[in-house]
Amino acid sequence: MLRALAEAFVPESAALDEGGWAEAEAIVERFLATRPAAVRRQLRLLIRLLDLLPLLRYGRRFRSLDATRRLRVLEAAQNAPMLLLRRGIWGLRTLAFMAYYERPEAAAEIGYRATARGWAARR
């Protein structure tokens, strides 16, 4: 389910190999280790809810949906009237972005090149 969510938030993550996934998951685990236990519990609950929510509309769990439907489910949730649900989606997407874009490989892929050398590296 975690990978299904990550691939919906950042489609490029579908191309990660096992090493890439391990690195991404380690980034999130390190971050979550510093969060209160209540936050980790809420995240687990939200992920479970999101997995089950599509049963009502599509008759399938989130992890079994195709990419288009996964996106629709998440978009509906991020626009939900309930602040709690919107916040939850914001939090999950933040974790997915952290996991993907904190990797140096991702920064290179998108063309981000900042270094301590600054102008000296470009001129």
Binding site: A8, L83, R86, Y101, E102, Y112, R113
Partner: protein, 509 residues
């Protein structure tokens, strides 16, 4: 419990605490024992790697993701030796006269704030960059402002030997930013002010503090604490609280001062901010050079300030609205992205305040007022005009649905960018200029303020406040020089009262 005794204890090492430490340091040679406690670690120069999450974890409270109580805004503030002066961009502005006048604090004149700000500007090597150090991201902002009818002004910056890493918000990897960790704190330490890092003040009592010193965890950045890990009881004659607009009111509240100081925690303000992004046809220099060289100040007229900015991959991704293929496409355009930070100027209102939970941890209760949301919308529209005037192909505006606006729709910005699309919890809002909570005021009225104009807590002559929590309302610009100016006043008053406060001989020099 280990007992210690000092004459003055300063809590916090940022713009406020660092300034007070420097200004009280001359008392040391008169025999006054001055201690500074900092909750965060002291990092070595070689530990600033520029890696985003790693540095955010090391330098910021909650890794820069401290959430307001309803989870709709993140607050970024430093938790490191040097406080937020380690992680700001060094923008050094003097408080506007109209703002200080509007604060209406008896005995606080703008001329005095300006004079003291100038002193610290000189001390911190504040100057304007020459044109050859300005990158395309900033040049396009100036160009767009000119064409769209906005007056761009250049930020004076407090750097020395800037190499243009663009990594300011992750702590300068070249030691070029003149924060308190580079100027005021080393100066104070060389004069004998004792400094202890990784030291969290749990509570303040009558002329005493309960402090816990934490051990460095495995893999954590920074030096070990100067004191052995453990619990300390520190007795002192004077306490100066400078833990910032979240930390200071929270510390005083969990110490039980809320009953005698009803205004404690009230009046919290900040500059709720969006990062706006626009895509150009060709690559521009954006992730090299100082990121924040220009701004547009429309605070007085329209309630917002626009500033150039450039953030890192994760921060950028987090601040764009949405996810999926459209989000990824914008991220992949990174070398072609121009960025503007829009900051709304809020006002002190009763429901926005700092409180503490049952464990004494700071909780910031903050709701966006309709006026603040409207200011953000106006700022977003203005930024979009500037982006398009600078030649952008498309603009990402959080308060638009869908957020991506193409150039062909540039004439419809007022229609497309609207407050109805500002959906709290969906759009990313962050704030770094945190103010208020221990507001200064006049007349010793504890129902309306916490301190007088010199940071003296009402009714407690041994307790002072010296940081942005003193601001009775929003400053409406980047605050660090004003914090230093106010802290300078607090220190000056302590020096003038030193004989009475600290005993014979103190301040004789």
């Amino acid at each position: 419990m280990i007992e210690r005794e000092y004459d003055v204890v300063i809590v916090g090492s940022g713009a406020g605490g660092g300034t007070v430490a420097q200004e009280l340091a001359p008392l040391v040679k008169d025999g006054v024992r001055v201690l500074l406690l900092e909750q965060g670690p002291r990092l070595g120069d070689d530990e600033f790697t520029g890696r985003e999450v790693e540095m955010a974890d090391a330098l910021y409270e909650d890794g820069g993701g401290f959430l307001t109580a309803d989870g709709t805004m993140t607050l970024a503030f430093g938790r490191v030796f040097g406080g937020s002066t380690v992680v700001y961009t060094g923008t050094s502005l003097v408080a506007p006269e109209r703002v200080i006048r509007g604060w209406n604090v008896p005995d606080l004149a703008h001329t005095d704030v300006a004079r003291r700000s100038a002193k610290f500007a000189e001390q911190n090597n504040v100057h304007l960059f020459t044109p050859d150090l300005i990158n395309d991201n900033n040049r396009l902002f100036v160009e767009g402002c000119g064409k769209a009818g906005y007056r761009a002004e250049q930020f004076p910056l407090n750097v020395k030997g800037c190499k243009g890493s663009s990594l300011c918000n992750l702590g300068c990897p070249n030691a070029a930013k003149m924060g308190t960790h580079r100027i005021q704190l080393p100066g104070a330490q060389s004069q004998g002010v004792q400094m202890v890092t990784r030291a969290e003040v749990l509570k303040i009592g009558e002329r005493s503090l309960s402090v816990v010193v934490r051990a460095k965890k495995e893999g954590e950045k920074g030096a070990e604490s100067e004191w052995a890990p453990g619990e300390y009881h520190v007795r002192t004659k004077l306490i100066v609280v400078a833990g910032g607009a979240v930390g200071s009111p929270a510390l005083l509240l969990r110490s039980g001062f809320g009953t005698r100081l009803p205004a404690l925690g009230a009046g919290f303000t900040c500059h709720p901010a969006h990062i706006l992004v626009a895509e150009h046809e060709r690559p521009i220099t954006n992730d090299v050079g100082h990121p924040k060289s220009y701004y547009v100040d429309r605070a007085a007229e329209e309630g917002y300030v626009l500033e150039t900015c450039m953030y890192f991959p994760f921060t950028t991704a987090k601040n764009l609205t949405g996810f999926g293929p459209a989000h990824s496409a914008l991220m992949r355009a990174f070398p072609r992205l121009q960025m503007i930070l829009v900051l709304a100027c809020d006002k002190a209102v009763p429901h926005n305040r700092v409180t503490v939970d049952l464990d004494g941890k700071a909780v910031v209760r903050y709701r966006f007022t309709p006026e603040t949301v409207e200011a953000m919308v106006r700022a977003t529209r203005a930024s979009a005009r500037i982006f398009f005037a600078a030649g952008a192909l498309r603009v990402h505006a959080p308060s638009a649905d869908p957020p991506l606006i193409e150039r062909r729709d540039a004439a419809r910005l007022d229609e497309l960018i609207a407050a109805r699309h500002f959906l709290a919890g969906k759009v990313s809002v962050s704030a770094a200029h945190l103010m208020g909570g221990c507001a200064m005021g006049g007349g010793g009225d504890a129902t309306a303020s916490v301190t007088d104009a010199w940071g003296r807590v009402h009714g407690l002559p041994w307790l002072r406040v010296a940081d942005a929590s003193l601001f009775p309302d929003s400053l409406k610009i980047n605050p660090y020089l004003t914090i230093m100016a106010l802290a300078d006043r607090v220190a000056e008053r302590i020096r003038s009262e030193a004989r009475d406060l600290l005993g014979a001989g103190a301040g004789a020099a």
